[in-house]
């Protein structure tokens, strides 16, 4: 009997992800929005667990929930002069909504009509963290090192841009 993804946990996590994302978009307070994003990211990590990608779920928590959310909060703090500035209009935009809706419609249509019918059952092999590690450090070792270089460059760049302005 091959493993499957049960509907109930998927529905809960999926609705949480989407719901939190929607709440993020429609909250007036930027700080609240950042927390909604955090929640959405955490639910996504749950989805990764359903797909037996444990390591990725962990990374998701560390990177998004940890680093990105904190970074966003810091920037919000730095760019707000008063507490009241955090509250802002929802910025409703009809063209953007139309675009997003038509995009969603097109994407859903394509998923439903173009993706061939696969059985719901997952392949029985579910490689674990060990295999991922081996794969990452054998086949993908060069891109992996490059990725670290990208991060370093981004780090330096971010410090450079956000760092002190020359006072002349």
């Amino acid at each position: 009997m091959s493993p499957t993804v049960a509907l109930i946990p998927f529905a809960i996590l999926g609705l949480l992800t989407l719901g939190c994302a929607a709440m993020m978009l429609f909250s007036r307070n930027v700080v609240h929005a950042a927390f909604w994003m955090l929640a959405s990211m955490v639910s996504t990590a749950g989805l990764y667990l359903l797909l037996s990608a444990e390591f990725l779920a962990l990374v998701q928590l560390l990177v998004y929930a940890g680093a990105v959310a904190v970074l966003v909060l810091f920037v919000v703090m730095l760019t707000l002069r008063r507490r009241a500035d955090a509250v802002r209009p929802i910025d409703f935009s009809l063209p953007a909504l139309a675009l997003a809706v038509s995009f969603a419609a097109l994407a859903c249509f394509m998923v439903l009509s173009l993706v061939p019918a696969y059985p719901d059952s997952l392949p029985s092999v579910a490689p674990g963290v060990t295999e991922l590690g081996l794969e990452l450090f054998s086949t993908w070792v060069l891109p992996f090192e490059l990725a670290s270089l990208i991060l370093l460059v981004a780090l330096v760049g971010a410090v450079w841009w956000s760092g002190g302005v020359k006072r002349s």
Binding site: A6, S40, Q60, V75, T79, W160
Partner: protein, 103 residues
């Protein structure tokens, strides 16, 4: 009751559309960057789902998702640094007030 690949793809499509709406409508640069992260997340869900359902042994999808995270992390770091730099210059993070690209 079980769900298959299309369910994940639909979820990702909806999440991507939400992010798209945010990116094109929000007037605060920080909000735009956060919406971008939503879009990156949706792509990651797609990658992981494909990887699990179609080629679980190779795990290419998971590896790619990892690289996506690296790029997304670098992007948001730089993006926020830019926001701060812009804020220093113009004292605002409102995109409507930044129109250097005006032709």
């Amino acid at each position: 009751m079980t769900v298959g690949l299309p369910a994940f793809l639909l979820l990702a499509a909806l999440l991507f559309s939400l992010g798209l709406y945010g990116v094109t409508s929000k007037k605060s640069a920080v909000m735009v960057l956060m919406s971008l992260e939503l879009m990156a997340n949706a792509v990651n869900i797609n990658l992981v789902a494909f990887s699990r359902f179609l080629t679980p042994e190779k795990m290419t999808g998971q590896v790619f998702a990892m690289f996506m995270m690296v790029v997304a992390a670098a992007e948001i770091g730089l993006g926020l640094a830019l926001v701060i730099a812009l804020y220093r210059q113009t004292k605002t993070v409102e995109l409507d007030h930044i129109n250097e690209l005006r032709g």
